[in-house]
Symmetry: D3
Subunit: 326 residues, 6 copies
């Protein structure tokens, strides 16, 4: 492999390449002539690249690992205005020899620092059962690993490795900043809710190499998964302490998770029914919208237009110059 | 207590009564004169009776058990066209000495027979993990006791003790009758779904003496509770067998529970995404609507009208004479 | 014509063909050079095939019968990844010499057997006016012919010749299976409703050679057409018997037809207001959804994916492995 | 009967009355004492009057004709702030001896003049099949009688005898005034649509003595009834002329009837799909809203308020002073 | 007038009163006997009191100032479980002699302090045109007086004198707290939007003595009024500076005002299309919901219930014990 | 430039062109080879033409005026079935030397005659403040110029220069024709509303050369802009007459503007609350729908189809033969 990786967003038509890519999907097709060829999607952290390998065989096809890596040789070409890659040779490449960061989009922030900052904020929680519950999650190594890697969404907001942590920390910070203004709220419940509201995302989405919904994500969904996990941790505590975990505390935490989408239409089986649930719902929505609007402005391809293209998730076009007043 | 109970729906103004009632709620009020009086609701299985006890005291008030029983002496009178009961004397009555069936509306069917019939149908299930899971529920004594008692809903359909079993059995029977017509369906999944779709109702509603939502019911809801319990039972099996419970089977069962209301608006966090989930959704809806329409026709107070009053839950008035063709 | 027909789904690029096709539509266009050419769609029961005939004339164009047949010689070629047919020669072909079954998608079941099965079920009807009304339809040869051929829908479910009968029989069978569980229902009304709920489809859709909406279908719709026909048959009976057809029976039958889509949004001018109308509505919906989900699973082109593509009519992707539990 | 009728809106508490009323409904009830009494609603064209007859018998009850007339003696009294009538004596009164105009709310306009004006406008129709069809309705004596009497709605607009004619004439006049501005429209179709769009109301509503929905109205509805009648008349013409009635003309007329509510939510099984159907829909809506707003302003009881009470059918309060500019 | 005012929420049946009340509305009615009597509503800052004056005359009636004050003598009594006041004597009372604070519900906070705090926050704004615009409002004495008095809403949230300022300050504080977390936002625009988003409320609602919609409020609404005022102030600045006010700045400010309800359904003619508009929308919603939930919890009359009654504006019942974890 | 202009809808592949076009947008792109090329859209009043100029430079790119004119030499060619223009040479062309009518779609009617007709109708207004207000607009030269040029919409109806005037005149005529039938309406308010309801369109849309939304149009919208302008003109009158403009008249006019879309969903911040606002709303809707349906019929490309393609704005396909009855 060449000393320096050529990222997909740098690739030019005509360029030859001899390096490793992540494979997102593959298909074996029969050409009209009866010959077999492979169609697949290569990716790295900067984008995706449609590729074809002519004159392939079933055994070559079978050797390609979906969501795994391949070392390819070949050449980029222009096909109907888009880049396409023609694979001349291909072999599977061991996942443990790649630097995952080259292949999967990741947060720009320091994950460990974010995690430390989040823990710092959670230290404000005083209620003992809540502290125990959070400790259960924080000490669950497998959970924390997944949590640090998980994206916050497929596409809507923070759709990259570490996105869930980024979004969760943003909400915890916003909660910490606003709670002094709303002293009637149960701050412990709000902070615990900020941490837990989206934990099910770690099972709803894959965190790479490529980001996608899991079957469990589509069939059950992060809202219910999160509620189930809270029940499980509470049961563990009950077993360890030989005392029932306080039911009301459990109910309220689960209520916040279940209602945080705010309306049934977006998959919440319950509507917010406590001030803390409304609070989480609005902070969640606010943080997501701030990501969606500012990233739409930054990434809009048409630099001359004053509005972005129509964004279905916001039901509007976004005006791009609000930060530039005369 | 008199030899023969006078039920609330038999009571006439002027009648004196000396017997036990269930208390649904109570309130201590201060009259304009400063005197204290008690306002409460008495019930039996045939209805509810507003009652007042003048010249009460705080200690009398405190002695009244909400959702418990009192022996009262007093007199029914007509108050603005409705019956009201004036309590002359009152004392708490031990719950273990009453025949609950006199106080709580119950199914007209034999609960044990229904349970046996349901088990008989479930015997058709062949898939081993599903059989083990159902066995876990069937052998959970506390669960079965609650399940046999639970109403199916507060008001919408089968709102009485045993209503959940009645509705579940009706669905299992309908499934058994229709499954031969749809051989592509996974019959095991359908039958397991019929049993489990509403089990969370046993924690969402009290099953008496009076029927009401629990706090957990309002905050978390039967759909999520049911999904959590299925996870818990699967975890028990995994522990006992030292093998993970098959994830796909667990996901599909929870999916059926989560999606059985069919649309987000009615509290389903997921829409049906497998044939079996659509099947359960329509059978559930069909059975509920059959109950709602036929009971609306039977109970409509205006015997001369050809239509019932407007029924909000059906968004229509129901025509009462469809079974009487010329 | 060759001894063995080559069906569209078997055709390969480069293959020459000399056989009959059904023509779905045609267009005469002027090339940039001023020359005329024909664009048309050929079909058989396995699919559709875009075709072009260069160097055509107005008289050739006029000779092509839309919804009729042509014998063509020509050659299949690959055009931008899809198959396209280049017509070298073309002449109209008499419709009475083709085997329609080669050109129009049809039910896989035996139409006459299905019709006999349906009549058998309808024999359960005891109410005399309903029997007379059904007899009127059953003895209306033109109606029965159309009914046996009609598809159940353009695309949603059972979109092929005989699909209406297939769907109607499925509903009648489901009704027969479930009616014993709901003895309060008027079984006669349910069975008559099962037969009649969609009869207007025979005038809303063409039943071939190609399947399409009729103008009357779009302007008036099968729901109203069905209600009108029931009125007409009742009037015939009244004339023949010199007695008015019972008004209530007529009203109820028409009500079932009018309300069977369940909600206004889907074109029902009336919401279900009798148990029998709810019953027909749910069985109709159930049967349609069973078709839609199972055929989506069976026909999904991506054999490796666990979910089908997004299906607008179901507002979801369908999981394809629910019938394969571990 | 007294020389001068005392209308219900003139009646004062304490006044004794000895005259005929229309009976809208009746009920026989058992007092708490076991005695029977009658509850009924008396009406005349100015309003309704709740009445009770104490110490009644079943035979008295049976003698009261619902939607018929009774001669009563009795006395008005104040009951909880409303007027109530106590019947001392009562006997049925022959309907053919009353002046219906005293009992049923009626249009303030001359019915025959309105009918003549409507026919005059319809004379503009030039298309022969449409002329024949309209002639069929105009010469159907029973239809014309019903049409002249029918209200346009229960409550929404023109809810009085003659209201349908009043509304139909208003629409025909508006169409005649606007058609010159929209010359691309098929004026014949518009005028025929104006006449026919609501004819089903004559079977959906009773036209007195009291105004109410019929069972057929609730189960089938005026939209479908109107479409059926147009089919029937077209069939009669076809039989008389031995030529099929032009299908397209029939389809378009029925389409206008079916789509005139404009959206599915208000019971239209089809949305407008021709300019003429949109035209009828908006004129219909406009005329209804003009009635609703101006009559709400005129009848608002609170003369000091600048807004009427909230009107559910308009989803707003109406400002009452728009006609009084400074 | 007695040394010590008896507030309405302290009044007991039987108590005689001789003091001043605010009159919210009045009506002159004719008793069944023909005698005239007055029905009116008296209020003070703690509530409203239905009152009647028997044996009144037209001149007495005319002397009562709606939204003005009367000195009354009379007696409270219990009428069907509610308090009613019987007026024995009554005379108008000059508005300039009352302490308004006794009659109109007012914020519990110090209005001048809140205003000062708000101005302090606005000092952060750096953009010059925005500073000038805000200065225009701040120096408009009439505006500031109205702004300090205005309620934030009729009933939904902060429905008392000073409520608008309270709500505006809360939003400005929340914005100041959160803006550091969202550095990509235009902080000046956010702070100006926080101040201006609801200014139209000062013309939409009366600020006392009683709180009500104005005609202009109902016909035009606070959203449009606010946008108009911003245009007016910008025009004044343009005139004074002889330079056009920067159009983009004006557009963006008006956009924030127009879109702050977030969806069309709640009266926003534009949806948020800049990050700052989303920001204002969510903070506005959050602050309103915090008021609504916490005040619903605090004011719920049933101290034993764990849930409040159903709150239409929140589409739910609120659980009252979220601040009391075990 | 050639003697005779070749319009875009006449252009054939292969044709060379040497003439002026309007430029709607432009983009400078880097080919895969690194060379720069220009992509732009040329237009004239008959359509738009995608164009490319290979081997361009930044200085050429910068010389192209968006919304201005260029003289180009080049050649039309067929690209994937559509016409594309290859620019060989290009130079900016002064806007004052072109005949705008060649480049921008315009009304087919005489603008000055329409304006005169509109003024003639407005002469019926008798209320003095309304006359003064309208005079203010009519004498505002800049406004009148813009009003005469403005389209009525981007695409929905009358999307061409002069379209707003055409639509406004049509509404004024319809109002004049219908007002005699609704004598209870305030005719002055209706006519003023007809003139003013859409005036904000002149600032919401550009009136050429190309038609597009302005930033102010997207951020603020024509409804609010119209309301603001009415306030401004009223303020001018107040200043000139030293008398406040009558508030109620101002409120009502603004109410009509604000509510004329009829429902919140379409951007009306207020629902119609006076008969005159309903009247304007329905006439506006009627005129727009007449344009949309008849122009869809006239412009449908498929001359053999009986229905147009699906029209999203009408939620239906339109039947094209309603004007051709048998």
């Amino acid at each position: 492999m060449a000393a320096e990786r050529i990222y997909i967003n740098q690739l030019m038509p005509g360029q030859t390449v001899d390096q490793v890519f992540l494979v997102r999907d593959k298909d074996l097709r029969t050409a009209k002539t009866g010959a077999l060829y492979v169609v697949c999607t290569l990716c790295d952290r900067t984008g995706v690249l449609p590729a074809r390998m002519w004159q392939a065989s079933e055994s070559i096809f079978n050797s390609i690992p979906v969501d795994g890596f391949v070392h390819v040789k070949g050449r980029a070409e222009d096909y109907k205005g888009s880049l396409q890659f023609i694979i001349d040779a291909l072999r599977p490449y061991p996942a443990d020899k790649v630097d995952l960061a080259e292949f999967t989009p990741v947060t720009e922030h320091d994950v460990d620092q974010m995690w430390a900052d989040l823990l710092e904020i959670l230290r404000d929680i005083k209620n003992k059962p809540l502290r125990m519950l959070i400790k259960k999650f924080v000490e669950d190594r497998q959970f924390v690993d997944a949590f640090k890697k998980s994206p916050a969404a497929m596409q809507m907001h923070n759709p990259f490795v570490g996105g869930l942590l980024e979004h969760t920390l943003a909400m915890a910070r916003a909660a910490k900043a606003l709670l002094p203004l709303y002293p009637k709220l149960n701050a412990d419940l709000v902070l615990a809710g900020a941490l837990l509201h989206d934990i099910g995302k770690t099972a709803e989405l894959t965190s790479g190499p490529s980001i996608n919904y899991t079957d469990r994500g589509r069939l059950v969904g992060h809202i219910t998964i999160g509620a189930i996990w809270v029940s499980e941790k509470a049961a563990e505590i009950a077993e360890e302490t030989s005392e029932p975990f306080p039911q009301r505390t459990l109910d309220l935490l689960q209520h916040i998770i279940l209602s945080h989408h705010g309306v049934h239409e977006y998959g919440s089986p319950k509507l917010p029914a406590i001030p803390e649930a409304f609070f989480i719902h609005y902070l969640d929505n606010l943080d997501a919208k701030m990501y969606m609007t500012t990233s739409a402005i930054e990434n809009d391809p048409d630099t001359k237009a004053t509005f972005t293209t129509f964004l279905r998730q916001l039901d509007t076009q976004v005006y791009k110059l609000s930060s530039e007043l005369d």
